[in-house]
């Protein structure tokens, strides 16, 4: 029953419309843009998808996830979590809907007897999530390169070394690329930048 078409799935999750929540997606974009990956490795922007990601996870022998995680550490801290620890970290402090969903997805992979054999989560402690339409904060954006280095080292250890590429691959539509996304953002006057006070404590006082 365990048919694994993909040796390694590198998955970025989160919502790029919510400031540091976009970390996971920006990491996989940077990976696809800067590196040629050997056959057997696929890179995916999972966005905020839940169960729809299950088929890709079932098909993967090893799963490497980038995400913004509330570890309770200083903003910008990178932390790697592995194996059975991963679902726990993704569930305890939920920062967005996708994390509840993703925990369920890992469980569903388990239930269908097709979980990844190895699971690694490279997470960053976000600084800002409340900025709707905003981009990564500098302290988190700086960590993208470090997160990539961790991922590349892990890929190499698994026997899948990546090479710098001369032909960058754009994972997403050009309008979402971080430079255009930031440059074309409407002004604060035009675009309301606040949200639900019960979840976004900045306006809850």
């Amino acid at each position: 029953m365990n048919s694994k078409d993909t040796e390694v799935l590198v998955l970025g999750i989160g919502n790029l419309l919510w400031a540091d929540e976009g970390f996971g997606v920006r990491c996989v974009e940077a990976l696809a843009a800067g590196w040629t990956l050997p056959p057997g490795v696929s890179v995916m922007d999972g966005g905020t998808q839940g169960l729809a990601l299950l088929p890709y996870i079932q098909a993967a022998r090893r799963l490497l996830v980038f995400d913004a995680i509330d570890y309770g550490l200083p903003p910008g801290t990178l932390k790697v979590v592995e194996g059975d620890e991963v679902p726990r970290f993704m569930g305890v402090k939920k920062m967005s809907l996708h994390q509840t969903g993703f925990q369920e997805v890992l469980m569903a992979a388990e239930m269908t007897a097709q979980p990844p054999e190895e699971l690694v989560l490279i997470g960053v402690q976000p600084e800002e999530l409340e900025d709707y339409g905003g981009s990564l904060r500098p302290i988190v954006r700086e960590r993208v390169a470090d997160a990539l280095a961790l991922a590349l080292a892990r890929l190499e250890a698994w026997g899948f070394p990546a090479r710098p590429t001369a032909e960058p691959v754009a994972l997403n539509d050009g309008s979402l690329a971080i430079e255009r996304y930031e440059a074309e953002r409407p002004s604060a006057e035009a675009a309301c930048r606040i949200g639900d006070a019960r979840f976004l404590p900045c306006i809850g006082t």
């Binding site: 920062m95 369920e104 569903a108 606040i194």
Partner: protein, 599 residues
């Protein structure tokens, strides 16, 4: 206000208040509060979306041709549906005609999404409201096999298959790793299935999880990638090149053959697993016909799946378009998204500000100015920790959309009802509904219920599986005749656009009517408004005190156990609610908000 009557419902908020939060098992975030009388019957229901929606403002000043990529990010479930709605809005504004093949391919992607979404909904987001997982552990595998074989020819039905599965399930339960199965009120008397039916349903829950991997390939083939497929204003981004064997992204025979085999397998799975399960489960619940809400009065659908390209008139739509009002099934009213008097959003009970809140605003004139003020004499809690809402004040982040002033139900039941009352145009829908009613031996009024909504979703899936085959055949016939056009780029250059243009795009998302309204000025987006299906169904009250579909659907439902909101979850889940649209929830401790902690 206190106690009052609206739309035939007597609302009374004097009884014991119960808060259910969150209400969605896997996707989305939604909260419901109800008042129970001394017999544990719901006499007042309050539905609130706990998040702020406004992708619109992110799009101001951007290129209209990019809007789809952003709207695809607002929802964790129906990415492609938002993207399709967005490109249609831009095409409508600019008068862009798309090629026939582009229309057919969009239809195939949309139908495929329906089948995927409805299957996931039935088995993974809703079945456990009817199926008791723990009871499945005590099933007899041999009798389960007999049951399965009596209702379907599906090959995975041997006693050994069910025995193995039951053992796997036992191991899972014993390890304490119930996963999605953890969320349940196992043993609640509102569960009616015998253990064998429960075990069969759990088996198919897992099979459906596995089957997803086939379905999603269709979006990858047509959209270039998944889960965020590519879209294009003016057509679809995949060229057709049948003589080619390996070009990246092009549709060749090998890929088309793969699509065909997936389409056939979808039909098989729906016919042999989904529908028999639905009928088997429904037969044990046909005495529980609560949850109809507004469906017997007001339903709305924008319609979808145009047979011919660029013709969005009702006669050309394979999913019906129209409105039924006041339960008059003989009259299907025409729906116009651009008529300022038809669709309007009110905010008298929403955390937004209008200059005059006694009036609604058409989406073209839509305003999204937050005004978060949880208050009222019955309000309890603080701004950051609400214990109880006051429905007489503002109480939701959802606006209240109305059609000609009426609260409407949208979604699969609305679409199937609109098909049912137009049998000449939709014989498949009419015949299938009649066959299901006959099989279950229930009257047509049974459709107006939670179970009716759940059955309508299954019937629609069957219909979509059939449409998928026919749309594919149409695509192949066109290709064989030499038509390989998939995009019209004659108006791609903004220099060809008028200085100002307004457009409305619509689809039927699996969970209901979805509209995007765009105003383009000097080649940039000047205003962009979305009205999503769960805003219709989950709408708060309006200035007249009219309740929305969720609130209406809970009225007069008795709870088997006052501290277990199983019936509430069952009914709300039957709408396939999705508040993931443009949401971001930051909850330090997810369960903290819950008064009744949903297990």
């Amino acid at each position: 206000m206190g106690a009052y009557e609206t739309q035939g419902f007597k609302l009374d908020n004097s009884g014991k208040r119960m808060v259910v939060d969150p209400i969605c098992r896997i996707e989305g975030h939604l909260r419901v509060e109800v008042n129970l009388d001394s017999n544990n019957v719901i006499r007042n229901a309050v539905s609130t979306g706990t998040m702020w929606r406004g992708l619109e403002v992110i799009l101001k000043g951007r290129d209209p041709r990019d809007a789809w990529a952003f709207t695809e990010r607002i929802c964790g479930v129906c990415t492609g549906t938002h993207a399709l709605t967005s490109v249609r809005a831009v095409e409508d504004a600019l008068g862009i005609q798309i090629p026939e093949n582009a229309n057919t391919i969009r239809n195939l992607m949309q139908l495929n999404l329906y089948i995927h979404d409805h299957l996931v909904h039935f088995y993974h987001l809703h079945a456990l409201d009817w199926v008791d997982v723990v009871s499945a552990l005590s099933a007899d595998p041999k009798r389960t096999s007999e049951l399965a074989q009596s209702i379907s020819n599906w090959p995975l039905s041997s006693p050994g298959y069910f025995r193995d599965l039951q053992n796997r399930l036992k191991k899972f339960v014993e390890s304490g790793q119930l996963g999605p199965f953890m969320n349940g009120y196992w043993g609640n008397p509102a569960y009616k299935l015998p253990p064998e039916a429960n075990l069969m349903a759990v088996a198919h829950y897992l099979e459906a999880l596995d089957f997803q991997k086939e379905i999603v390939k269709v979006h990858t083939i047509f959209g270039g990638k998944n889960p965020h497929p590519n879209w294009l204003v003016g057509g679809v981004p995949c060229p057709i090149n049948v003589h080619d064997t390996g070009a990246v992204g092009a549709l060749n025979m090998e890929r088309l053959n793969l699509v065909k085999s997936i389409i056939d397998r979808c039909k098989e799975f729906v016919e042999q697993v989904y529908i028999p399960d639905l009928l088997a489960i429904a037969s044990f619940y046909k005495g529980w016909l609560y949850g109809g809400g507004l469906s017997s009065q007001n339903v709305l659908s924008y319609g979808d799946i145009p047979e011919k390209a660029n013709d969005y008139s009702p006669a050309n739509l394979l999913l019906p378009r129209g409105a039924i009002v006041g339960g008059d099934l003989k009259t299907v009213h025409p729906v116009d998204l651009k008529d300022p008097a038809q669709i309007q959003e009110f905010v008298s009970h929403s955390w937004y500000k209008y200059a005059d809140e006694s009036k609604g605003l058409h989406p073209f004139d839509g305003v999204t100015e937050p005004n978060y003020k949880p208050e009222g004499k019955n309000f309890k809690g603080t701004r950051t920790k609400i214990e109880q809402l006051d429905e007489e004040a503002k109480y939701s982040w959802l606006k209240a959309p109305r059609w000609k002033g009426h609260a409407m139900e949208v979604g699969c039941l609305s679409r199937m009802l609109l098909g049912y009352v137009q049998p000449k145009q939709y014989p498949f829908i009419k015949d299938t509904i009649d066959a299901v009613l006959k099989k279950l031996d229930v009257p047509v009024t049974a459709l107006f219920s939670t179970l009716g909504r759940t059955a309508a979703r299954g019937i629609e899936t069957l219909y979509c599986a059939d449409l998928q085959v026919r749309q594919f055949d149409k695509l192949m016939a066109a290709i064989k005749a030499g038509d390989t056009a998939t995009a019209n780029i004659s108006k791609w250059d903004p220099a060809t656009w008028p200085k100002q243009a307004n457009g409305a795009g619509f689809t039927e998302a699996p969970r209901g009517a979805l509209g995007h309204w765009i105003k383009i000025k000097d080649t940039k987006i000047d205003n962009y408004q979305c009205v999503v299906p769960t805003t219709w169904n989950g709408s708060p009250r309006d200035p007249k005190g009219q309740i929305g579909a969720f609130e209406a659907s809970l009225m007069n439902t008795p709870l088997a156990k006052a501290d277990q909101p199983l019936e509430i979850l069952r009914t709300i889940h039957s709408f396939d609610p999705c508040l993931a649209c443009s949401t971001h929830v930051m909850s330090p401790d997810g369960a903290e908000l819950a008064t009744v902690k949903v297990r």
